[in-house]
Every structure is written in C-alpha cells, then in structure tokens.
C-alpha cells in the first residue's frame, strides 16, 4: 500500500479557521509562508537556532520550522500578521520603532512573537528576564541593545 503523503488539517491562524490539504512532510513555517502567504514569518537557519520563524502555537512560543504542518491539526497559531489586525501598531511594535529596535527587519517578526509571549506571561520583566526570553532569537544587526530597550519600554519597565 502506498503511504499517505498528504492530509487535511483544520487550523486556526490569527483567529481564522482554515481547512487545508497539506503534504505530510510540509513544515509549519512553509505552510504559513507558501500555502497561506503569511510571509511575515521568516526562515533564517535550518537547525532551529535563529528564531526568525517564531510563532505562538496553542498559546506557547514555538519555532515553526521545528513543527510539521500536520502536527498543527486542531491548533491555534498566531503570527506577526495577527498582532495588529486593524493596521495600527501595538504598543510593542511602536516601541520597536521608537527605540530603533530593528534594522533589516528580518528577525523582527520572531523577536515580536517572543516578546509578545514574554509579556503575556510576565507584564513587567526585568532586563535579565527579557534577555533570557530572547535567547532563542538571533539578530545580526542591532546587538540586541535597542530590542531590550523597546521591550522594557513596552512593558512599562523603562528605566
């Protein structure tokens, strides 16, 4: 018997329920980017180290390159596109801009998802907690200085 190579999944992405036939080997990140055209979620490595593909998955921060799309059947996924559906920047996004916490912007969606997950768990993290929360996200442009400042500011913890 030929093995099954695709499967229909139901997944809620940024509040919208989606039914989709996905290849069994499709990574969640490629499902988001290539099938749903949610290209804000990025790919920066092939070892799960860089965090550019970070999403919030069933309420928990996850790297979407480390999950298969079929695993997401029944799951709830939040991506960067879901942060500000009305087009207005959230306080966190605005703080990133105000503090120049992004340059090329490639790591930015992952950084925002990590910071969003952090702030939901801990509304006023200290600097150490912020840096720990970002340790799964690589940025090659900023040295993290202004990213940390932006998150502090958005959390009301600005010095």
């Amino acid at each position: 018997m030929e093995p099954t190579t695709s499967r229909r999944i139901t997944v809620t992405v940024n509040g919208e329920a989606i039914e989709y036939d996905v290849d069994a080997r499709r990574l969640l990140v490629h499902f988001l980017r290539d099938d749903l055209s949610l290209t804000g979620t990025h790919v920066g490595c092939d070892t799960g180290n860089c965090g550019a593909c970070s999403v919030i998955y069933n309420g928990v921060l996850a790297k979407s390159c480390m999950l298969l799309a079929v695993q997401a059947d029944g799951a709830t996924v939040e991506t960067v596109e879901g942060l500000s559906p009305d087009g207005q920047l959230t306080a966190l996004q605005q703080a990133f801009s105000d503090h120049h916490a992004l340059q090329c912007g490639y790591c930015t969606p992952g950084m925002l998802m990590s910071a969003t997950a952090l702030l939901r768990e801990n509304a006023s993290p200290n600097e150490e907690e912020i840096r720990k929360a970002l340790q799964g996200n690589i940025c090659r442009c900023t040295g993290y200085v202004n990213i940390v400042e932006a998150i502090k500011s958005a959390s009301g913890g600005e010095s």
């Binding site: 055209s37 990025h42 070892t47 120049h100 790591c107 840096r131 340790q135 090659r140 040295g143 993290y144």
Partner: protein, 822 residues
Amino acid sequence: MSETVTVTGPLVVEPTETKPGFAGTSVPRKEDKRLLQGEGVFFDDVKRHGMGYVHFVRSPYAHAKIVAIDVSKALELNGVYGTLTGDEVAILTDPFFELSVKPGADIKDYALAVGRVRHVGEPVAAVVASSRELARDAAELVEVEYEPLPVLTTAEDALANETILHEDAGSNVVWQGVFDWGDFEGAVAEADHVVKIERLHFDRFSSTPLECAGVLVEFNRGTGQWTMYGNHQMPGIGAIWMAPALRTGIDKLRFVSQDIGGAFGNKICLHPQFVACCLLARKLNRPVQWTEWRTDQHTANAHGNERTFLDIEVPVTNDGTMLGLKVRALDDCGAFPRYEPLGCIIWAQVTPGCYRWRNIRVDFTQVCTNKSPVSPNRGYSRMQHLWLTERVIDIVAHELELDPVEVRKRNYVRADEMPYETPNGCVYDSGDYARGLDIALELVGYDTLDEKRREAESRGKLLGFGIGSTLDSGTNNFGQSTLLNPELQFSGNNEVATVKLDIFGEIVVTLGTVPQGQGHETTASQVVADILGVTPDDVTVRAGHDSYWNSHAGFSGTYASQFAVTGLGAVKGATDKLAHEIKRVAAGVFGATPDDIELVEGQARLKANAEAAIPFMGIGAIVNANNAILPEDVRDVTLNCRYVYVPPFQLPDKERNFGNLTLTYASQVHVCLVEIDPETGVYEIVDYAAVDDCGTRIHPQIVEGQVHGATAQALGAATHEIFAYDEEGNLLTPNFYDYHVPHALDMPPLKNAYLESPSPFTPLGAKGMGEGGGAGIHAVCAALQDALWSQGKSTVWRSCNPYNQVWEHLRNPRRLVEVTTP
C-alpha cells in the same frame, strides 16, 4: 547607558549647504511599519505561477576531480522539471572575468564546478522541481563520481605549490606585490629597539546575515531579458560579472529587490548562483527560485578574508615613538578569488592605522585554498590590517613596559594635523582620536583601573583592559584596483538618485543603492525635505532597488560605508536640481526670477509676498498636464531630475602605489575590561565603551544602531565565531548550531558616545560608518593580552580567542616576540 559628547573644537569644515532641519534628527524610520507588521517583501516572499524550486547538488569533497555526473534518476522523478550540470555551463557561458594579473588572471570560475571541485559545498549540478522538498530529494538521486585529490587548508601549505588548485593558473598564488613607502631601513637605523613578532593570524568568520542568499529568476523569451528578484547587494558589479559570462548585454539583466535581511558584504559575490538560475530559467522556460540553506551559506558562499602576518618588525624609540612597520601578509581567499584580489589593496586605505607611521613595507601575497571562497565582509580587508596595527601597538607597549594609552597618544595622528596625508597618499579627512580615547577611558572609569584589578584579583579573576582604535574608511576610489592590475579600467566612484514632482504634487525619490536595513528611505527623505521645504512624510522614497528605475550606475549598491556620502550626495544633487526647476516654473507664472522664489511648506512663493504662492500640486499639474500656460523659456522643465554624485578622485600613481584611495575616515575608539577565570580560561566582558566619530550625523539613532551592530559582530568574532576546518577540508562550524553568534545574553552592556568632526570633503559633512573597523576585536584581544601578561607573558596572536584558546595561553604561554637593539 548612552552619552553624547559633541566636540566644538578645531573642526575643519565648510558650512554645509542645507539649512538646519530634519537632517540631524532621529525622525521615525519609514521602513519600520511594514517590517513590524510582517509586510516587508524579501526575495523569498515573491512567488510566480508555475515556478520551480532550485536545489544545488554540492561537493562532499574539498578537492576532487569530477569523473562523471548522471542526472537520469533525478529526471525520472515525477515533478522534476530539469537539471543543469557543469558541462552545460562550460558550453553555455564564459568564465567570469578575473580582476587579477597572472597567475590569478588565468583562474577559470564558472557558475557550477567544471571538471573539478575545490571546496566542500561547491555546486556541481542543480535540480529544479515543483517543490523545494522534491528538488532536495531529486538532488540526492544525482550520481557524481569523484576522484579525490590532496587538500590544502592553510595558506602556507598552498604557497608551497605542491598541489595546484587551478591548473590553468599553474600556481596557488592569486596576486603578489610589495608596497614600500618611506625608508624602512632608515627607520631601523634611527630606532632604539626593533620589536620582532613572528606571527599573527586573523581568523576566518563572516557576518552571516540572517536572511540567506537567493533569487527568483524569470526569463522573457520575447525580449531575451532576465528579471532577478534577489538580494544581490551590488548589482552594478554583479551585472558586470554576469552579462559577459551569459554572453549578453547588461540591458538584459534586471535586478530587483525591496527588503533585504542583512548583507554585510556577504551578498556581493552571488553571481555564480544567479547565473546558474538564469540558465535554468531559460532552459526550462519557467521562473525558477533558489533559496540558500543556512548550512550552504556557511559552507559555500562567503567568508571573510583569513590573513596571516609573518616576520613583523617595528622600529621604535625608547619613548614609544613608532618609526616604521614591516610585515609579510599572507591572505587566504579560499577556492576562488571572485571579488579578490581587491582585498590585496583595500587594506592600504588605512596603511598606518590611526598612527603617524611614515616608513612602511608590506609584502602581500594572496593564495587559493580548498576552503569556501571569501567575499567582502563588514570591515573588509581594512579590519584585518587595523587588527594588525592595534596588536602591534599593544605588543610593543607590553614589551617595552610602556603604557598602551600613552603609546597610542604619542603616535596618533593629531586633530590639528587634519586633513592628514598618509605615507601612501590617502587623506584622513577629519577626526580627533586622542579625544575619542579620553572619552572612552572616562566611560569605563580608567582612572580606577588599578583598584578594579585588585578587586578582581580578590575574587580570583584576572582583569584585563584593552583599547581598539580603528578607522572605517568609506567611499572607495576604485582606481585603487589599478595598483593591482594596471589593465583594469576602473576608477572613481558614483551613485545615482532621481527626484521628481508628480502631477498631484507627490515627491518621489528613487535610489541606486540596495538597502539592507540602513534606513535609506528615511535619511533620503530627511535630505529632500530640508531642501524642498516639506516634511519627510511628504516624501516617498521607493523601497529597495530596481534597475528599471534608471537610478543606478556602475558602482551602485550598498557596500563599503558610503551611503551618507555617495547616496545622499546623489539625493542632494537631484533635489537641488528639482528645487531650481520648481522655482523656475513659479517665477515663470509670477513674471519673476528664480531668485525671487522660496520653497516653504510645500509651496513655491514670492519671497516678497507670501500670499503669492503656488502649492507643489499646482506646479506638478502645470508642468505635467497644463504646460501650454508656461512661458517658452521654462518649457524644458521636467520636474524629474537625475543626479550622479561623483567623488573628487584622481587615478593613483601606479609607480609609487600612491594616491587617495577613499574619501572619508570615520573613527572609532572602543575600550573594554575583561575578567578571566584562570582555572578554566572562561572570560567575560565586564565593561565596554564605544566612541564613534562619523562626522555630521544625518540620523543619530541610525548611527547608534550601526555602532551597536558592528560592535556585536566584532565581539562575536573576537570570542566565538570562527570557520574552522578539519584536515580534509570539512567546515566544522557549518550552521548556527556550531557557529555561535552573540545572543541577547552574550552581549555586555554598551556605553556609547559620539564626536562629530564633519568631513570637509562630502556634500553633507557626513562620513560612511556602517562597517566599524572591527574595533571590538582589537579591544578584546588587547584586554586578553593585558590580563594574560602577568601569567607568563603570552602574546595574543589570533583574532578569535574562545575560552579554550585562552586556557591554552594560560597553560602554554607563547611569546612569539623578540626585541633587538640595532
């Protein structure tokens, strides 16, 4: 943690022509909103109907003959669209032109390996399929028979020429030359001591931009044109490589990019992969898309230059005055030269570093090895040389028991000597290095260093203090290439911008540059707004690059610390032209002269009567749609102005290797304190300050961001980042799992300060500053040596010093230095 210090002191600068306004302030970045909402457009976000995905079949050997390639099994797979092999490439294309004289000139470099592979990961074939997963599967089915050859993994082994990589060249040497300025022997005769250093080694690493390389290529059969949606950061030069290889004209190559996820020089040498994709798009008559894998990026795309410095001699007087420098530099460019041997001359932009050295002899040789090719990497070639000068200063200071601070101050080029001509004819435009050092010392509390040392010792730690004073030279004179190869027809530099006023009053700017996070849309809009009397919000700067815009020239791109000079120089020139045209139209309507008109609040109005004003919308409408009302003598106005900024360069003197090789010199002084655990070699940067002087800052926040980023990359390179190879030529750090770049927890707190010594040579007093000169590497090496000195006088001889290396210094100190008295 940030302090801004502005010097009011002896600055040599002409009054800038723009009035105070938006330039100089940190206005919100235009790029931010789309990037923060996931609405940027990076090359991998672009899709086309029916496109195929490219996967390269890569060599598992560092050096081998290709006996046979069989793609038949891959082609049998359902969903595979086609393949490309080196044999086809050799028929369909010509080798890329080489910049070097012989022997390097005879190297043959193609889009895919032809007959032989010369580094692990070298593409030998390509497969295109309906999905990226299938393309990868199919690539596994391509059978390649190899016959392994001996492997060269060090420049010194390559120099022996026992194994030859490129038989056409007959030697592993790409380029060799001796640079001799002043009178080195005379300096030795005058010296009290000659400090001889056996060996220093600048390690391989790269900036590893988070977005890998890639491109989507469409071929238009009707016009013979390729359109490349990719992330090549220097399309001007890319096209010069690609068009002759593809046997076509530059008019058939259209480069398009919007957002690029970092580049740092690593996306300058993408022409081989782009050519392979162009051939596939034409062969298969469908769009093809290639996205590089991270492991492939590390293994086979772009490393920074690795350089060994041998037989260094430094004549010096008792008080620490440096009289001369002699060195043999051996540069390892990997398997193919590509942008090389430009690195064999680029370092000469900063020949004496920050110092008043007048007698310098550099014997420079570059060789190929069985490692990844190099490409420019942030701080390209100058960083390696500046690391040498900084190491030399500290080693001399330690050996002669002099204070590294005092030795620097004694030898720094002084602010009152600016503009300063170096021994090889470069002109340092402005700066005050000693003042920069003073500010940096204050920021880390240098006056209490002894106390800090004792306090660290009480906790069992070794404290080290180090300085990295460095230069970021910007805006190349490409004429320096003729010092390597007199036949090359390159000189000067250029960049283009267009600014137009459209029918409803829209102000639209296009740039020739290829931004990767430097905020060009924002800073261009600041300059335009100040000249036209509007706000940056009123100015649309087209995002990214498109060679259809007619706003590019031969050297267009974003590289080599130059946008603030060349890019904004072009923007200023085009906007000045537009402002004059607007004034001419208004003058025509009012029966006045252009001098009677001023541009204020989006209007052109009579200076003498503010009521007599035409909004820009009116000016745009008249010229574009209602021009019969204009007087005859202003009907030549287009309101669409193009300007090419050309820096004031001359050809260098080939006989003397003498001339001005670059226009501006931003300077950085970094200082750091490290604490080493002597039991383990583990160390921590406990205090760090960076003082940057890039002349007039157009957008201080963007400048600060560049300083932070360059510092982080330098600290990564100093502590962990290294492309290490085993004896068989396998890269041991082929992805972010093994190659550790700084994470948020790795970065020490940074203290920043700024001096502003405006450049007398640039349109806005600004200097390019994105690269940073590797100051962090120099500072960390100096601090480690300072800390290790009390433990056996070991010389820090490599640029990358991970903990195990420091442990090695503690266990087996190596001096590598001899001091003689002539």
